[in-house]
């Protein structure tokens, strides 16, 4: 099917520009409920036109953070700046933000049209303007035929679109999306993710999305903040989060990864480059070449982490088995269609996962249960995690 994809997207990275002023700034935000601290001394900058994700398990404070921006909660300490203005104490109905609720929160006694027009009516726009904007929104979410229906007569996916249209109708400076796609099935969710990105791009709005679905965050975001227990663990682009997680928590939360305890044998100078590290993973010699200097020094306990798809699996012995090579038995195989994941166990009981793309339909001698295999990986594939 021929489909216009619109202009090619350009690189967008205002956070690397020191001259850029943040659009939204959370400044040392703390939120307490009685003895429970939901958000703890958190600071974060979000830039105009950014698609920003707050990612974390339930109870990590991401929804609280979003609700403070919407005005439903006030921070216990700290302040929130929107375009440089402190918005503390401004009630939700005077904030230039709009929210798409997890439950959609559509007004059940109003038609789709009326739901979308609700926010515009509050601004006392003229009837003609409201009508025009509602039509535009209905078209944007492809619900023109459903204008006169009530939310109860719509499917889950259609309701989600109405909620999106309603929250976009006022052209908010920031659109807040609280687990927007949680209730949709996988296929529809993926489609909608791309539509969301399209809409964000077309309208040029700033989107802040709260999600616990790491795939969703990876797909849609310009940047992701990974949260845990009320603090931000890492803020980075999806690629950085995946390839260069700053801690075991982030590495483990995003995607699949092998993590092994290790002792630093030597780091930095002496290994050639400043980012080169030699590790001893309890008997397994590992060499890592990183683009940045390793903060650890010889003797430190660290973790060696490597993504399964970066581990090569082979029945043949590699030329050099002294470093970055392990020999074990195939203990289990997970066939995922596009990939197969092999769980290889070593003599000491440790298990490393290796993923192999199924590039060919026919293989002479497929690796199977009980095979003794060699796992190898290049020096630039693994990571040293000090936290």
């Amino acid at each position: 099917m021929a489909k216009s994809l619109g202009p090619v997207k350009r690189k967008f990275a205002p956070w690397t520009d020191p001259a850029a002023t943040p659009f939204i700034r959370f400044e040392n935000i703390t939120k307490k409920y009685g003895n429970f601290t939901a958000v703890s001394n958190l600071s974060l900058d979000i830039y105009e036109r950014e698609f920003f994700s707050l990612l974390g398990p339930s109870g990590c404070g991401k929804t609280t953070l979003m609700r403070m921006l919407a005005g439903f909660e006030e921070p216990t300490e700290g302040r929130i700046l929107l375009q440089g203005q402190d918005i503390s104490g401004v009630p939700p109905y005077r904030r230039p933000t709009n929210m798409m609720f997890q439950s959609y929160a559509l007004f059940p006694h109003m038609t789709v049209e009326k739901n979308i027009a609700f926010g515009l009516e509050q601004d006392r726009l003229s009837k003609g303007e409201i009508e025009a904007r509602v039509q535009e929104m209905l078209k944007l979410v492809k619900l023109e035929e459903f204008a006169r229906r009530k939310p109860g007569q719509l499917s889950g996916g259609q309701r989600q679109r109405v909620a999106l249209a309603r929250s976009l109708a006022k052209r908010p400076k920031v659109l807040l999306l609280d687990e927007p796609l949680g209730a949709l099935d996988r296929k529809l969710r993926e489609e909608t993710q791309f539509e969301l990105m399209d809409i964000q791009h077309t309208l040029g709005l700033t989107f802040l999305i709260v999600t616990h679905d790491q795939e969703e965050a990876m797909t849609v975001s310009d940047r992701i903040a990974v949260m845990d227990k009320g603090v931000i663990v890492q803020v980075a682009t999806p690629a950085e989060i995946y390839e260069a997680p700053n801690s075991r928590y982030v590495a483990d939360f995003i995607g699949d990864i092998n993590i092994m305890e290790a002792t630093v044998v030597s780091a930095g100078s002496g290994n050639g480059s400043p980012g080169a590290v030699s590790l001893d993973c309890d008997g397994l010699a590992v060499a890592v070449a990183a683009d940045q200097e390793c903060p650890a020094s010889a003797g430190d306990r660290v973790a060696f982490a490597i993504r399964p798809e970066k581990v090569r699996i082979s029945l043949d012995q590699p030329a050099d088995t002294s470093v970055n090579a392990a020999y074990g038995e195939v203990w289990d195989i997970g066939y995922l269609g596009d990939f197969s994941v092999f769980l290889v166990s070593f003599a000491d009981g440790r298990i490393i996962r290796a993923a192999q793309a199924n590039v060919s339909r026919l293989v002479d001698r497929p690796i199977t249960f009980g095979d003794m295999v060699w796992l190898t990986w290049p020096r630039d594939a693994g990571l040293v995690l000090t936290r």
């Binding site: 919407a70 005005g71 009630p91 109905y93 929210m99 439950s103 929160a105 609700f118 926010g119 509050q122």
Partner: protein
């Protein structure tokens, strides 16, 4: 889904279940009503029973039809007392229902917005008065409202009334309104509470978020969504209040005109059973309109 022959709910057992409420209605509503209708069409007699039976066995059917007469109904239309009683009852019921809504809605709203853990206790407190007989509670109001009653004592104690003054509420319409509002409040609060309680609180957040201040959001969101509860509560109160007898009889005065009282006087004071029956039949007809509204609303909710 369409019912099929294999449906285990089909068959005689199902009909039995359906029949029970109908038999109940036939025995305890239709049959007594037909008797009343029959009496209302007969003539007064000084005898036991104090009316001339119009139907003595099925053989006398022709006789019966020829004896039927509508003079009782004609009389109801001619004597302004009855029309006034009906109108006064409807007026009292209307005002009472309005008062009940004004007092009951904030109560129900407060209950629905209370922390989840408190709600069962609050519902319990609303229905607590039912643990005492209705009649005793109305008698208690006599003790409170009578000139030398508790209210007078209280107001004298806090200095709002001089030592010689007394509250002149007892045996007035005001006392009747107090009694009715007090007695019917749970019937208003409970349907309102059940409508408000199941409302999703995020709807109000959404309204706020879209620029609608809280008070406006109440009228645009909360109130329209609670309308089924408002109608249910109003009808459940309005219909029985129109025919109320005990409260106006115990708390009302000579000028309190309500159809329930008139009906009682015709039956037991004047012993004019045919006329009293006609009053009762007309009362039912007067109430058919609100009952139909109520039914329609209930159907719509489903």
């Amino acid at each position: 889904m369409a019912e099929t022959a294999t449906n285990p709910n089909a068959g005689p057992a199902r009909w039995l279940v359906v029949a029970v409420p109908y038999i109940w209605l036939l025995l305890f509503f239709a049959a007594p009503f037909l008797i009343i209708l029959k009496i209302s069409l007969s003539d007064t007699a000084i005898a036991m029973p104090p009316y001339t039976p119009v139907l003595e066995g099925l053989g006398a059917l022709g006789d019966f039809v020829s004896q039927l007469d509508f003079e009782n109904y004609t009389f109801l239309m001619e004597d302004p007392l009855y029309i006034d009683s009906y109108l006064s009852s409807l007026r009292m019921a209307f005002i009472s229902t309005l008062l009940l809504l004004l007092i009951g809605y904030p109560m129900a709203l407060a209950m629905a917005r209370a922390p989840t853990g408190w709600r069962p206790t609050l519902v319990m407190m609303v229905i607590l008065p039912f643990w005492t007989s209705f009649l005793i509670r109305v008698y208690a109001w006599i003790g409170i409202l009578k000139p030398e009653g508790l209210l007078t004592v209280l107001l004298q104690a806090i200095g709002l009334l001089g030592p010689g003054e007394q509250v002149q509420i007892f045996r007035t319409d005001t006392a009747v309104f107090i009694g009715i509002v007090y007695s019917y409040l749970p019937f208003m609060v409970l349907p309102l509470y059940s409508a408000l309680e199941k409302m999703d609180a995020t709807l109000l957040e959404a309204a706020n978020d879209l620029g609608c201040p809280p008070l406006k959001a109440f009228w645009r969101i909360t109130f329209p969504l609670s309308l089924p509860g408002v109608i249910a509560g109003s009808m459940i109160c309005f219909i029985p209040i129109t025919g109320e007898f005990v409260i106006p009889d115990l708390l009302g005065g000579a000028e309190t005109l309500m159809i329930g009282k008139t009906l009682w006087t015709e039956f037991f004071g004047n012993r004019d059973w045919p006329l009293a029956s006609a009053v009762a039949v007309l009362l039912l007809l007067v109430l058919v309109i609100p009952i139909v509204i109520f039914q329609n609303q209930q159907q719509k909710v489903r």
